[in-house]
Assembly symmetry: C2
Homo-oligomer: 274 residues x 2
């Protein structure tokens, strides 16, 4: 079995799927994506991911060429063809082909099944290290394909023996390269609410935390994060993952904190029963 890709109505193996070089995603960075995974063979939080994909398309002014039901059938067919118990699915929507490298006619939509690249199990205990970097993503509320700052920083992340980058600007934090960030201050769970992509795992986590903790969605200072009791990040592949170091500053106890563990247990439970 191998991964497959839907491309404008046709399904082929990923290996054999190419795109013409006049694509505006390639030539003009005019594209968006979305990304989710299955648990127990079922797309996790499908409704929420679809809603976000449609919103990104609307904000980038890209016409979405498939209806939700049709897309779901494609996704289920790709999952089946993968032969895997669980896999990841990536949507990529671009401005389509333009011979003059500017004029849009009709979008290109790819739906791709992929291997899941899980976090190393020990990182759920030790937490991860991130480097701090002054930047706010351009059009942060859209899941565009614009990750050039993260790509440029790859060498710095590696050199610092870190896993990721924490974006901050004018003293306020926003997000990691591909995930959201939360802090615990006593019994209060705090997370930025502007200049971020609103992650589906962020939403799941907030829903799970309700009733257990006081929740604040608001601007968060970098100094607050550095002095927090616990810090963690959320994403499709990371779920709830502790952050225990920013550059050379140790956060909290330097390992996963009890409240982060509580939320991680809650999300693991939800996943088990998905």
């Amino acid at each position: 079995m191998a991964h497959h890709c839907y491309f404008n109505g046709k399904i082929d193996s990923v290996e054999q799927t190419n795109i013409h070089i006049t694509d505006l995603g390639l030539l003009r960075g005019y594209g968006l994506f979305d990304y989710f995974r299955t648990y127990n063979g079922r797309p996790f939080q499908w409704d929420w991911y679809w809603e976000r994909y449609e919103r990104s398309a609307r904000l980038l002014r890209l016409p979405n060429p498939v209806q939700k039901d049709e897309a779901y059938q494609v996704v289920m067919s790709l999952i089946e063809k993968s032969g895997l118990d669980d896999c990841a699915i990536r949507f990529v929507l671009t401005g389509g082909y333009a011979e003059d490298s500017v004029s849009m006619s009709k979008p290109n939509l790819l739906i791709i099944s992929e291997d899941i690249h899980p976090v190393k199990p020990e990182e759920y205990t030790s937490g991860i290290k991130v480097i701090a970097y002054e930047y706010v993503r351009d059009l942060p509320e859209i899941k565009s394909t614009d990750y050039k700052h993260f790509m440029i920083l790859q060498a710095d992340i590696k050199a610092a023996q870190a896993s990721d980058v924490l974006f901050h600007k004018n003293g306020y934090i926003s997000e990691l390269s591909r995930s959201n960030v939360f802090i615990f201050k006593g019994d209060t769970l705090i997370t930025p609410d502007t200049d971020i992509l609103k992650g589906i795992t962020r939403r799941t986590t907030l829903e799970l935390a309700k009733g257990h903790f006081k929740i604040e969605e608001r601007s968060v200072k970098l100094t607050e994060l550095l002095e927090a009791d616990e810090v963690f990040t959320t994403s499709t592949t990371k779920r709830v993952l502790p952050i225990t170091k920013v550059d050379d500053s140790v956060l909290g106890s330097g390992k996963i904190g009890p409240k982060t563990q509580f939320l991680l247990d809650l999300i693991n439970e939800k996943i088990k029963n998905w």
Copy 2:
């Protein structure tokens, strides 16, 4: 005859050149380009374009896989294969293929010949209209493939019966979507020097203007532009093109001014003898 494309060492027709869907230019917007044209069959200002291409690659931390001499031979061969008296050439350099959509191994380089899309002749007299938009390009000094704001604005540009967009932020102008901007105030030629991509035609124009006008490369307020005697834009395909309207404000005399005409004549003369 047809346009051809060099792709990682092989030349094929553009029509038949595809790129695999795991390319980081497509998936992560991790790519740059450069673009020039020939006059009298010879690449115009080749040395300067090559220098800028290499600089963009260095700043984006993309290894450049070809030497200058080899690239020049490829360019000349593509020009010959086009069968055209003159054509445009586009370099596209991306982070290459990454199965995990993040890890770079080796870059993808495309060198493509294209038709030139010239400005309508009457616009050299009437000038063009632009819409003003608050934005500074991300990493403006790099010729990255990031043009998503310009692509999003296409509908607004069309609705305003304009040709392009003028970026400004905090009261200062920077550039158009794909070209630089100059103003004349009396005998002084003024152009922004920060938050811009330093265009090769900008450089050519400054060189030609030296000795004829006082030149100031500095921050330029939007209000200065609106009150200028003459305004024009420079680019590879536009050369020296008057701008006579920003939104509903008429600039200068509302048609090409005498000093802009003088610079346009100088560049046309240079091109004729290239």
